[in-house]
């Protein structure tokens, strides 16, 4: 975790997509600030945040575009996933319709976003399911629906099978407890091919290289309280 070591550093543009209120902003807030707010203002258009992720070989700086989830904002999405190298498609695992919407987003990204985009499918709100108590047991996930207090409506198997079919990264997370959150981002960081890192962000690459040098000074826009929590990417 030593910032002093001159590891190669590169920026990765990451976009969050998913139905309204599945917890996109909360995931980002957890990742960036290690914080959780019950009442997060809805995202208007999109919010922009950055967070670094230290890999053994290099440092990845995520430029995170957290988009609005309401259906009618969908037509704005191309504006945000333009040039994105990674995408986090989030659904609420207590709400089956949100997985349908997530699938739509995956299809949209596969056809319209930059080729080679790394997509992770994330089922959020694991804290509302019973298997959140029994740690990470994927095996129990599906059948736990009858348990009292288990609001899970999307089985791990179903989502996982879909993710494999579409070759997506797949995680179930809880932004509230922080479970699996940093793992998602680490996995994405690892999945970004070196080659696409070199060319940074395509068209504007040559310019951005200069801008990157001043990244230490850059203000993180997410929130005022986040300044102290820069290093909690658990990589």
């Amino acid at each position: 975790m030593s910032e002093s070591a001159p590891k190669p550093s590169s920026s990765v543009k990451l976009v969050l997509l998913g139905e309204a209120a599945v917890g996109k902003s909360s995931l980002v807030l957890r990742f960036v600030n290690n914080d959780f707010q019950e009442n997060k203002e809805p995202t208007i258009g999109a919010a922009f945040l950055t967070q670094k992720c230290n890999l053994p070989s290099r440092t990845i700086k995520f430029e995170i575009w957290d988009t609005a989830g309401q259906e009618r904002f969908a037509s704005l999405a191309p504006m945000y996933y333009r040039n994105a190298q990674a995408a986090l498609v989030v659904y609420d695992l207590t709400k089956p319709t949100s997985l349908v919407k997530a699938k739509h987003w995956v299809a949209e990204l596969q056809r319209q976003a930059s080729p080679g985009i790394v997509i992770a499918l994330v089922g959020n709100k694991l804290d509302l399911t019973s298997d959140s108590k029994t740690a990470d047991s994927d095996e129990e996930g599906a059948d736990g629906e009858d348990d009292s207090g288990d609001a899970r409506k999307v089985s791990t198997e179903e989502a996982k099978a879909y993710a494999e079919e579409e070759s997506l990264l797949f995680f179930e997370t809880s932004a509230k407890t922080g479970h699996n959150v940093s793992e998602v981002f680490t996995a994405i960081a690892n999945a970004i091919p070196e080659t696409s890192l070199k060319s940074a962000r395509g068209a504007g690459a040559s310019n951005t290289a200069a801008g990157r040098s001043s990244e230490e000074q850059r203000v993180n826009l997410g929130n005022a309280q986040e300044s102290g929590s820069k290093d909690n990417c658990a990589c």
Binding site: E38, I44, G45, F48, A68, R218, V219
Partner: protein, 1121 residues
């Protein structure tokens, strides 16, 4: 073909009669005078400019204010006085909305708002606020009117004199400058309006009671009353430090201004008014001034109880919008204490929910929660509700719609303005690949409430509500200009955003902290921003914004539509995979084009109606609400108006893809009389009354047929009476997608299997054959083999063989198809299973064997095969050039013999003997395997299901142009009414003469259809007879009659095949039934068997045993041979 909607807009323009002056599709470019007038004075869309006259407004010197002005003379403003149904408006800005005024004089404004809001000096008074008008004795031959308003007097029971004494009475004088005649006319209009307004004084009293000014300026004797609701701020404090905001000083200034110039609806705008707004409104008056300047107070005045009524009406109901609202209630300005309380949350919920009900097209859009939350800090719920309406409808139209086209459009406009005013910055943004709208979109969407600290955002809103949306642009440009240096250093989105965020967080700081001049040091960054916005960017006007919007509108809408189309097609589900991308795209366009076209037409028809109604009435009394604003309703990019296709739209849709779905008689009644009985009632209701303009627009008139209804019902899987795009795609994919003949046959069968029991009854069989004729009447498409060789090889139907022989030179597949259909009917009834509860066909057959034996005589008595074949030859050869008239006379002779024969035999037979299958007393049905077999037995039918039916849907290219040509080209059988008898097409003499092949076909088809009708009619009669009479077999006489009818039915339906009477044929039948019971065999096998069967059957087939008098016409005779 229709790759985008501009085509449609263009098309829509084509069928607008330019002489009507509606300029519908052009409304943005040339807005109506009414809408200009409404926008200028921010009055409701019910108001129309009725009269206008040049005038001079004189405001008498106030005895309280001591200004620099000459007290004796007061203030004078020259301008124009406008009168609408319920409002009198005065403005010093030169504009004219009179009917005679040119567009340029209507739209050219020099005021601050450029027509986008109240500008200049003047007033907008509801007529009900005027208490008294006196005509003054004019000195200079002028018309002078003195107006006294209800200002300050609505709650008084004191005498006028007292009010006059303490100077509260608001009295202005207006000199009308115009010809005596025009002055008189204006006064007449005014009188009328005032009289109508008298009744609204009560409403006015209720409405203004909610305004804080009434409390602020209350008289001594009302000191005790409690203040009206001026927002959550009264409970939870207003944002910002009141001292720093100098709230008290501002309040004093406003109190003075309102005292002198009238409060709320009676306010007169003088220069101070605009100045007071620019420095920021005092907290408690803010809500009232917002609602006054935005004009939402007039909406409230129009319908003061709408808010409460809406809430009451929909109480307890759920909607998607409400779900969405609930998600956001706790996250709307959560930092403001009022929204951490139940009270605040509940108010917010009620306003948002009420609005979502009043405007379901918008419903709820994230960002509305933030805007409404901000409004609720300063105003009551009802005030916020109406202000939200004014926002969505007038101030930021399309911002919150389901496609958010207004937001996207204004982003394009903003980018254009940046490019124009700050080219260096713009170049830098382009080079750095920073997308400006990513940053600026939230500014516009949340009216800066989310971006700036609240106190400053409200200052922006203060100006925004008076001067309109251009303020958003001015402020945005000023932000970029002020931060230009730093932004030029930013090379990516992140830095760009952070520069601006930090700027917003320091708006309070001094703009010139290092200046020597303490006055300059005192200027905050926000003040600097306002100055830059309104001075440096003063050139950004309502007009320039409007122009830029027009320029970008199509591109933005196309973008949205492409996105919507892409998304919609991608999300169509598995069935859509059966169709090609091209087909799906075309289908999507077609679907929405039809809906759009229909809405346009509906609207035009409506406006046509309104116009007509208007013409017949006095103009002033007719309230003509400006429908122009909604002209493009229905365009996908503007948000949904409908995405459902009703039955009529479905017909129109089919008519655009399939030639058989085009009506045969354009211009004639489009309602077919056929099968009126079983048409579901909802189709009736969907149908509109007859209109003067063609209800089908420029496209071909769609046909009406029972088949279409069945198809619609089949596609309408949810039974809603409306089809979604998904329904249409799924429906079409099933027919067109698989290209598998068995699938298509099954599909067709299921269309007619009403109760899904796997059986189609007698009626269904007839309907199927009718549908086949209907579908083929404009010719068949797809790959049809040139000859009927297969059938010939199998020695099948003489019909085909003969047709080959005699019609070969000119006979088209279409003509042969007719024969196939008639063979189809025959075979269907032949192989249909008797309807037995146990469905044990063979058993039943055995039990009836005896009875059938009796019919031997009947069959034997008939002519033999050769004869029949000969007759058939006559029929088919008849029309050929070599056909001789003398032959044509032969059939009747035969028929007579037949009649005698059959009568003879029938008298011997029992009623069921004729043919169990055709006896109404013995209901029968056909199963899917039978249907398949019958279809596959005929090459043409097979080809029909394999290729021609699926290919008849021209989704991509539309109907081939020839098909939509005039009736003369393709459809010579112009009257296809099944119910009515078409005129007999042929007289023998004419037959040989130069009648074209087309005519031949028409005759044949008409006959075929008539036959089917006749068959059914006869059967119905027979049925009735049976019901009327005693059990069959008990009364010989009646039996005979029945038999006659049945005989007819047999003859007609079996056509050339006739009744199969001999035992051979019967034994075949029995084995047939055997086969059928396990009939899911693969196509080839079934076909072969069937072919054999058919062969044998035909050899045993007889011509008509009985000829009814009613069918004794050449046409029928020919057909029956």
């Amino acid at each position: 073909m229709f790759s985008n909607f501009t085509n449609i807009v263009h098309k829509a323009q084509q069928f607008i009669d330019p002489t009507q002056g509606l300029n519908l599709s052009n409304s943005d470019r040339n807005p109506s005078k009414a809408s200009l007038f409404q926008n200028q004075f921010r009055i409701p869309s019910t108001q129309n400019p009725l009269h206008e006259i040049n005038a001079e407004l004189t405001i008498p010197p106030s005895n309280q204010t001591s200004g620099d002005k000459d007290h004796d003379r007061g203030w004078h403003y020259a301008g124009k006085l406008h009168l609408s149904e319920g409002y009198m408006c005065f403005s010093t800005t030169p504009s004219s909305f009179a009917q005679s005024a040119s567009v340029s004089t209507s739209s050219a404004f020099t005021g601050q708002t450029h027509g986008g809001g109240p500008s200049g000096n003047g007033f907008t008074w509801p007529l009900c606020a005027i208490r008294r008008v006196e005509r003054l004795n004019s000195q200079n031959f002028q018309f002078a009117l003195a107006f006294t308003t209800w200002n300050g007097l609505l709650y008084e029971d004191t005498k006028d004199t007292k009010a006059k004494q303490d100077g509260r009475e608001q009295r202005i004088i207006i000199h009308l400058a115009g010809t005596r005649q025009s002055c008189e006319r204006f006064c007449d209009g005014l009188k009328k309006g005032l009289r109508a307004g008298v009744g609204s004084v009560g409403k006015l009293r209720k409405v203004v009671a909610e305004d804080y000014s009434e409390y602020l300026l209350r008289t001594e004797d009302r000191k005790g009353i409690s203040p009206p609701d001026a927002g959550l701020g009264m409970i939870f404090r207003y944002p910002g430090d009141p001292k720093k905001l100098r709230d008290r000083a501002k309040m004093r200034l406003w109190a003075e201004y309102l005292r002198d110039n009238g409060r709320n609806v009676t306010l007169v705008r003088q220069p101070t008014f605009h100045k007071l707004i620019r420095v920021g409104l005092p907290n408690r008056l803010r809500g009232e001034i917002w609602e006054l300047t935005s004009g939402s107070i007039f909406l409230r005045l129009e319908n003061p109880t709408q808010y409460e009524e809406t809430l009451a009406k929909f109480e307890g109901q759920d909607s998607l919008a409400i779900d969405e609202i609930e998600k956001d209630l706790n996250r709307s300005l959560p930092e403001y204490p009022g929204f951490q309380s139940e009270e605040g949350i509940n108010r917010l919920r009620r306003v948002l929910v009420a609005y979502s009900w009043t405007n379901p097209d918008v419903g709820y859009c994230q960002a509305m929660n933030i805007v409404v939350a901000a409004l609720l800090i300063y105003m009551s719920e009802a005030q916020a509700f109406f202000l939200l309406s004014a926002l969505c409808d007038r101030l930021v139209p399309g911002y919150y719609s389901t496609t958010m086209y207004g937001t996207l459009l204004d982003q394009k406009v903003f980018e254009g303005l940046v490019e124009k005013t700050m080219p260096i910055l713009w170049d830098h943004l382009v080079k750095s690949d920073v997308q400006l709208s990513v940053v600026s979109l939230p500014w516009f969407l949340s009216l800066y409430i989310n971006s700036m600290p609240l106190v400053f955002a409200f200052r922006v809103l203060d100006v925004f509500f008076v001067e309109g949306p251009k303020v958003l642009f001015q402020v945005g440009l000023a932000i970029l200009r002020i931060n230009g240096e730093e932004l030029l250093d930013a090379t990516d989105d992140g830095t760009f955003i952070s520069v601006l965020k930090s700027y917003f967080s320091r708006l309070e700081e001094s703009a010139h902290p290092k200046s020597e001049n303490p006055k300059l040091r005192a200027v905050t960054r926000f003040q600097e921003l306002m100055v830059v916005a309104f001075k440096e960017f003063a050139g950004i006007t309502h007009n320039s914004i409007t122009e830029l919007r027009l320029k970008h509108k199509d591109a933005v809408l196309n973008n949205i539509e492409n996105f919507a189309k892409r998304t919609a097609i991608r999300n169509l589900g598995p069935d859509s995979k059966l169709l090609s991308t091209e087909e799906l795209g075309a289908l999507y366009d077609r679907f929405y084009n039809i809906l759009y076209d229909r809405q346009q037409r509906d609207m035009m028809l409506q406006q046509d109606k309104i116009r007509k109604a208007k013409q017949s009435r006095a103009r002033a009394s007719e309230i003509f609400s400006g429908g122009q604003d909604e002209v493009e309703k229905g365009r996908v990019g503007l948000g949904p108006s409908t995405s459902h296709m009703d039955y009529d739209a479905f017909r129109e849709f089919l008519a655009s893809t399939s030639k058989w779905a085009i009506s045969d008689s354009p211009g004639s009644s489009r309602r077919d009389t056929m099968s009126e009985s079983d048409r579901p009632t909802r189709y009736q209701s969907a149908r509109r009354p007859t209109e003067s303009i063609s209800p089908w627009g420029s496209g071909p008139e769609p046909a009406e047929h029972e088949f279409l209804q069945r198809l619609f019902k089949k596609w309408d899987v949810d039974g809603t009476g409306q089809l979604t795009l998904q329904n249409v795609v799924t429906g079409l994919a099933r027919i067109k997608g698989r290209r598998d003949i068995m699938g298509t046959i099954t599909y067709f069968f299921e269309l007619y299997d009403d109760d899904n029991d796997g059986k189609v009854d007698r009626e269904g069989i007839l309907r199927i054959s009718e549908a086949l004729l209907f579908l083929s009447r404009r010719g068949l498409e797809g790959s049809l083999s040139p000859s009927a060789s297969t059938l010939a090889l199998n020695g099948d139907s003489s019909v085909v063989r003969e047709s080959q022989g005699s019609l070969a030179p000119g006979a088209s597949a279409n003509e042969r198809f007719l024969g196939s259909v008639s063979a189809f009917i025959r075979r269907c009834f032949e192989y249909a299973d008797p309807d037995h509860p146990s469905n044990q066909a063979i058993e039943k057959f055995q039990t009836e064997k005896d009875a059938e034996d009796n019919s031997n005589a009947f069959a034997i008595g008939d002519d033999d095969d050769e004869e029949e074949d000969g007759g058939e030859e006559d029929l088919l050869g008849f029309e050929s050039p070599s056909g001789s008239p003398s032959k044509a006379t032969k059939p009747p002779t035969l028929a007579t013999e037949d009649t005698q024969d059959s009568q003879r035999s029938v008298s011997k037979a029992k009623s069921e003997a004729a043919n169990a299958a055709l006896d109404p007393a013995h209901p029968l049905h056909m199963t899917l395997p039978t249907f398949r077999m019958v279809v596959l037995a005929d090459e043409l039918l097979e080809q029909f299901f394999e290729s021609s039916f699926p290919t008849s849907f021209h989704v991509v290219d539309g109907v081939p142009s020839t098909a939509s040509a005039s009736a003369g080209g393709l459809t010579t059988f112009s009257s296809l009414g099944f119910g009515s008898r078409p005129p007999v097409p042929i007289s023998p003499a004419a037959a040989g003469a130069g009648r074209g092949l087309r005519g031949v076909m028409d005759g044949i088809i008409t006959d075929g259809m008539r036959v089917a009708t006749e068959v059914r009619r006869r059967m119905d009669e027979a049925q009735k007879e049976l019901e009327k009479n005693a059990l069959p077999g008990q009364k010989p006489d009646e039996d005979e009659e029945d038999d006659e009818d049945i005989g007819i039915a047999v003859g007609v339906r079996r056509g050339p095949g006739g009744a199969s009477g001999d035992s051979d044929s019967r034994s075949v039948k029995s084995s047939d039934l055997d086969l059928l019971s396990g009939a899911d065999a693969e196509a080839g096998a079934v076909k072969e068997q069937e072919a054999n069967l058919a062969d044998k059957d035909l050899q045993g087939g007889k011509p008509l045993p009985h000829r009814p008098a009613t069918t004794n016409e050449p046409g029928v005779v020919e057909f029956e041979g």
